[in-house]
Symmetry: D2
Subunit: 261 residues, 4 copies
Amino acid sequence: MKIDLNADIGEGFGHYKMGDDEALMDVITSANIACGFHAGDPVIMDRTIRLAAARGIDIGAHVGFPDMLGFGRRVIQADPVELARYVVYQLGALEGLARAAGCQVTHMSFHGALGNMAAADDALAEPLIQAIAEFDRKLIISVSTHTAIERAALRHGLRCATAFLADRAYDDEGALVSRKLKGAVIEDKDAVLQRVIELLREGSIRSINGKTLPMPVKQILVHGDTPGAVALARSIRQAIEDAGGSVEPVARLVQAGAGHA
Amino acid sequence: MKIDLNADIGEGFGHYKMGDDEALMDVITSANIACGFHAGDPVIMDRTIRLAAARGIDIGAHVGFPDMLGFGRRVIQADPVELARYVVYQLGALEGLARAAGCQVTHMSFHGALGNMAAADDALAEPLIQAIAEFDRKLIISVSTHTAIERAALRHGLRCATAFLADRAYDDEGALVSRKLKGAVIEDKDAVLQRVIELLREGSIRSINGKTLPMPVKQILVHGDTPGAVALARSIRQAIEDAGGSVEPVARLVQAGAGHA
Amino acid sequence: MKIDLNADIGEGFGHYKMGDDEALMDVITSANIACGFHAGDPVIMDRTIRLAAARGIDIGAHVGFPDMLGFGRRVIQADPVELARYVVYQLGALEGLARAAGCQVTHMSFHGALGNMAAADDALAEPLIQAIAEFDRKLIISVSTHTAIERAALRHGLRCATAFLADRAYDDEGALVSRKLKGAVIEDKDAVLQRVIELLREGSIRSINGKTLPMPVKQILVHGDTPGAVALARSIRQAIEDAGGSVEPVARLVQAGAGHA
Amino acid sequence: MKIDLNADIGEGFGHYKMGDDEALMDVITSANIACGFHAGDPVIMDRTIRLAAARGIDIGAHVGFPDMLGFGRRVIQADPVELARYVVYQLGALEGLARAAGCQVTHMSFHGALGNMAAADDALAEPLIQAIAEFDRKLIISVSTHTAIERAALRHGLRCATAFLADRAYDDEGALVSRKLKGAVIEDKDAVLQRVIELLREGSIRSINGKTLPMPVKQILVHGDTPGAVALARSIRQAIEDAGGSVEPVARLVQAGAGHA
């Protein structure tokens, strides 16, 4: 019963801050670091890498649209192959800074609108994943279940880590319920914790309609940019440990070889 | 009598073009590719890398200030350590795109105002070169003679390739004459060619005052963004070959091991 | 038989150029000047304003998405009210530079993807036009017929100038045929000129299916960023004058008062 | 004994926040609003304008370098005339948004490195102020005493409002002591308040060497982006009112006509 506690961090820009990264990094076991397109800059990336490394946290790339103004949350209808170049650029930039700091990048995930688009569209997911495979076949791809990104990653023989969003409802097929629908976001803290405990005990979650869904999860994703985020992350970690589980960086959980561990 | 013919390319941005890269790449043997800060973007970088690789041209990173509006030619008084992060970010981004395209980055050079500042200021050159050494000790640093960058690269045991700017005057100490001074830029094409031939034959050039300066040059830098640039590059290459020399990509000229070849 | 010859200009950025603005400005009678979001910058805007004023050309704002990398041609799914602020920001910036140069802004048009979206979507056109009306009710809105932007402008009592795209096919309802469909772009120069002459003589054009469409046009839009653009613009102007017509800046053609002239 | 309480606000960007603007706007009487170059964006500018207007606060433009990454605090060696275009662009953008919101812009000030450079350099201050005069001669220029900007504004017959930085030391000539020198920033809250009271009572302040300096001040500038900023602003306002003074928006304090009121 080991699981990775994962969060998006390094989302400041220049003099701007977003979230309490240092406090959050004391709780999580892997970090998705913004790469200067939707958030982050070289100085923040470097600092975040070093803070993560000092805590033994796995370092991942969080890649998004080139839209600082929209924080990467706005759909941009760009050519898929061009987007694949944007992704590799960001991966390379983070990997370069990590290498200069004596660290390794273990995983990556897609941010915001790019993540939503790539999750839903096989024609976009394919060139993105192909480019990532060309960049580094050892990168673990952080995915939600039942997404085009997961399918493409498996097709290319890349390793995936399924992430569970504890505060989001899933439908009967295991896909995330759209934020536009009622009940998509679970705001009650105790309900969120209960879902985590159930997942750890049963290996399954309950869909929005009450159906039991097996979910072979490797990561629990916590959010860092909301008030109370650090406290919730701590509660989730405590709940995992109280349930007899433990938290581990993602790369220790995803074995060598292709596909899901 | 082998020398590298080098140029700055990939300096477009989005829909904007700068210079006739494809024609120039038929002439040169190594390219310094803009990395998205002062010019270039991920799509142009990828395309330029692939065009260079198809021609057997050595691929280098051309790093600059984050100032697309000023084309990296304006001094920005930023913290040296922060600038070192900017440099590594750019190196990593280019290296990532090159790796995904199955290519290697062999060298790097500094663009515009960042280049001028780093050439003149040991306190800036030191953290920049230290960061490059941490990123990749195998990168060849393209330098002008008698610069802080050259000193720092040698201090850190990095390999340097001295570049000769055929259309620029040098002072008696072998440093470039400032563009602000009269005679700094040699506009007569025949005079430029004559300088190249003398350099190849004698291993030396004449300073602005007529003094003979030994110059152990590995690269001749040609400019791509001026009218007639491609024709001048062709003439220089022809002059080299007519003089019994040959052009070679930089990495073949700079031997393994530290310091100048 | 008076008509305005209109083009999008000032589309460079920093050291980057786009099109031969000065040559084109010798032919046209009104200009849509990029405002620093999809193209243009304060220095280019100022220079373009002064060049236009020196030639007696009407000065208009060409507003687009904040996407220099995509030249404003990529859809960005942003909030309509936020987009309205982007539009007013750009209008104000151009108006400020024009005022400082002793000039007036007479009209505006929407660029690229923002233009296409606003043409097709009443829910977007409404807040954009409302914001423009709040900014300056005297601005003439350059529109295509049968668009949401035209409807919104008329609803708000703003003056419109219908633009004819001489090299584009129209459907039987008078709307532009999508570029994705065959025959949407008319590449034969003579065919383009013939359409202009027919429009001037008959006040109508032929749809893609051969249907006669009355078209109360005030502007012919010529493109500046394609090879041969200036020559085509000159030919169109010549055709207009040969047909006994004349070219006039848009503000002289659109009378005071609301709606179409 | 009337004085304007002034602060720099609207310094967020996209999803990023900077300072507690709403709380600060309940205390101050005039605001310098960032214009999208060093901070701010069209949406934040619009919202800040409307919040200010609803409180009867005078609206000013806070113009800076195009350097969001450096928050406008880094020197950029750009051409003075080009910088003047940047300034007018920003002034126009804010004025456009204000006009669309039914408001007026009353004043402007220079931010960060641009402000420091323009304060120190007559050759830069002249084209900047000339451009502002061409844009709108009614704008009040917020200045520190003994600066190139003040001299240029008076030379061009523009109205100035001298701002007092309550937490900064002045030298015997009335110029700000450089932040690099010891004692430049007064961190003790009571000392700051004491300075304000002395200024109001005596019309003078004490220089860093204890010399009495007459200071015909119209504005007290409070900072919004430091912890405790709002509380300090409230204390300063209270001190003004306790001393029998009152706070007033700047445009009511600076009479019509040129020069200092």
